[in-house]
Symmetry: C2
């Protein structure tokens, strides 16, 4: 199966675990058999591999998420990066040309497009395989997954199938309704539109060429910013008469709020937490190194990270977004392709961060114009290059870099560094990349 996972979204509704650089799909919250925690992206990727070992998985995403994806799924994963945000149709069209021109997938092959963050079981991915098979028959131009509704939700669009068969023609599409209208739709046999489409690659490539004149993926990529924002539903689905819909009645959850996310937790807490016996329906997700103590709480979620602390009634947690919008604060932690960093201290003219480099990884070779930096290696060993001079480094070493000095460090084993930045105008934008010198 060829599958495109759409990985988008911002991090407002699951603050403080998500932020501008970490969307909800990267929060590690699901316990694995190995007693570790995996994120939505990791879970979905693992599930696809379980159902279809040979699947060609491509993640269509924005620049801001690439580091997290490589950090969580490894460097081998296929990622199609949108140069800028242009909604789902341009994203899917770009990914289709990526599959065709970069991965050399035949235009006769079926492709499934699926969001990266449904909370589902393996049967869902089994259904995606079936969907792919149906698209492969060519009976319809588009095959959609319709999810059997469990309640009259206002959060989803609806699709009304022509009949009650597992696979049938789509009779009508409906936008997100109010509860009363949703009830009516459901009485007519409507299904939730789960945002899953299957098609032959050539179908979407043709639509892409209708949208814009381009020669190949590279050309499409370079012209991407000239496109307007437009959704796949609006641009393709609404104008298409030849659509099939396949029913799915397994578990399908959208864990978009703290309330729904905590329902999926196997245990009441992740991280250091103590709940006294007067706590009822309380969940704690604590990414800090210090404990959270909960006494006599009911129906509450507590979440703490380097970004801040949320204490919310579970019901109320759905209304968090406007409050988070008002919090203007620099990014306090991030996952990068080479590891991660966390801000430890911020002063007017200095910043202290902890950098963790994964074994075998290194930063870009770079310099800053308006700040000096000091690295204290606190664990591990590796190689640093400072102004083209290479040296091995290990725990206990101190390296100082004045403004203008080119520097990088590569980890042999996991490498942890305390970096003290000192300067009048510290900014993430004050960074110049350089070519690595010809050293081994």
């Amino acid at each position: 199966m060829n599958i495109i996972l759409l990985s988008g979204g911002s991090g407002k509704r699951l603050w403080p675990l998500s932020n501008d650089v970490r969307s909800k799909q990267f929060i590690k919250i699901f316990k694995t058999k190995e007693e570790e925690y995996e994120s939505m992206v990791q879970r979905v990727y693992r599930q696809i591999r379980t159902v279809d070992k040979e699947a060609t998985v491509t993640i269509a995403t924005s620049k801001t998420q690439v580091s997290s994806i490589h950090n969580q799924l490894g460097d081998g994963v296929s990622v199609c990066v949108e140069p800028c945000r242009r909604d789902t149709f341009p994203a899917i069209a770009l990914a289709a040309s990526y599959l065709h021109d970069v991965l050399h997938i035949s235009e006769e092959e079926p492709v499934v497009v699926c969001p990266v963050d449904p909370y589902v079981n393996d049967d869902y991915f089994q259904a995606l395989k079936e969907l792919s098979g149906i698209a492969d028959t060519g009976e319809a131009n588009l095959v959609l997954m319709g999810i059997e509704p469990t309640y009259p939700s206002e959060k989803y669009g609806y699709v009304i199938p022509k009949d009650k068969n597992v696979v049938s023609r789509a009779a009508a599409f409906k936008e997100k309704p109010d509860v009363e209208t949703a009830k009516e739709y459901i009485s007519q046999g409507a299904l939730w539109n789960g945002g899953v489409f299957a098609f032959k690659l050539k179908y979407v490539l043709k639509k892409a060429h209708e949208l814009m004149d381009f020669t190949d993926y590279q050309d499409f990529f370079s012209k991407y910013d000239t496109l307007n924002k437009i959704s796949f539903d609006y641009a393709v689905v609404e104008g298409e008469d030849n659509i099939q819909v396949m029913r799915f009645n397994g578990q399908w959850k959208d864990l978009g709020t703290w309330n729904t996310l905590t329902e999926a937790m196997e245990e009441p807490s992740i991280g250091k937490a103590i709940l006294n016996d007067k706590c009822e329906n309380v969940h704690v997700i604590n990414e800090l190194d210090v404990p959270v103590l909960c006494m006599g709480l009911k129906d509450i979620v507590v979440s703490a990270s380097a970004e801040g602390i949320l204490v919310s009634d579970k019901e109320q947690s759905s209304y968090i977004k406007p409050y988070v919008d008002k919090i203007s604060q620099q990014i306090m932690f991030a996952e990068k392709s080479w590891g991660s960093f966390r801000v430890l201290d911020v002063e007017e003219e200095s910043m202290t961060i902890k950098v963790t480099l994964n074994p075998g990884h290194g930063m870009n070779y770079h310099s800053h114009e308006r700040r000096d930096e000091t690295w204290s290696i606190i664990s591990g060993r590796g190689t640093a290059i400072i102004d083209d001079e290479k040296r091995t480094v290990e725990a206990g070493d101190i390296l100082t870099m004045k403004a203008g000095c080119r520097h990088t460090i590569m980890a042999e084993t996991e490498l942890k560094i305390i970096e003290v930045q000192k300067g009048r105008d510290i900014s993430v934008n004050d960074k110049r990349k350089h070519e690595l010198p010809g050293v081994e």
Copy 2:
């Protein structure tokens, strides 16, 4: 007025703002006229000065609190330090000999002993002055303050006066009763025993000499550890027939739990906090640099510090102690006489802390045997002495000290330092003090 303030207590019940080195009286929680926050110690000290400019105030406390006291009240405050904990009678006796032998107060003068942490108005300290005046008349050996009860509390001892006069003889003392017994006492006219005594200095000095053979304060101090723990109530009050009690009916509160402490807060939050409009009777005290967001909470206190995070139903917050007892964690912040420090990061073989030195202050000249240290000066300027060599330092300077290296730093302006400690066996006990060399 001569006043001895007893400053004891541990920090369990107001965790995470109090800890093993910061008792509740040092938490800055009371808003001043200058829109700043002061602690219980600062508030009481200020109130005494307001009522009696000339008061001789001595704080009787343990070694662990000396740094915080000097940090909050300045270097000028008179402190009588117990070499070890031996309960209130030895502490008061030691303070009495300190007043006599160090401050040269005549043994004929009256002295008032008072806890350092009552939440009261100025009229309370006015009453202490009156108490001192009554003791001065010598009509009784001991004069106690009896507080008019506002409810039948189980938390306090009771004193039953002979009559209803403002000052009368004490007829009986009662230990902390249950609620029913407390009601009965109150119907008999009982008052709360507020832990306040006044006496002529010679009275307690005589009792001290009965307790132990000693020549003067220094001698008492050196033999202090040979004493047994014994309370002033048990050792002195219970055996004394000649006691007066003075009524006090002004505000008197013991802010010993989160529930009572938050009642004294003027505003719902201190520090970075956002409460949505569905919050009712919620208090937030946040000492971290990142925000706390509260949604739809009722009757809850949230408190966050470098030590941890508490989220508690207010009623339940009284039962916090056994849970905090179970938290074993190193001290994450502390106030020192020279400034303060905060732990930023802990790894197996390293620790990163932020040190703030107040202007004009410096650390001890010291060395460590089992760790290297690096100082990154992030703001201010001062003077460092490294292995007897003196140098001026300022923001941007990096100093490295190998294990065994003697070092100190003195702040000219407020000086902030990121200190990275690196070693196999990092411990607060790995510290050797040295004599400062003969440099200016």
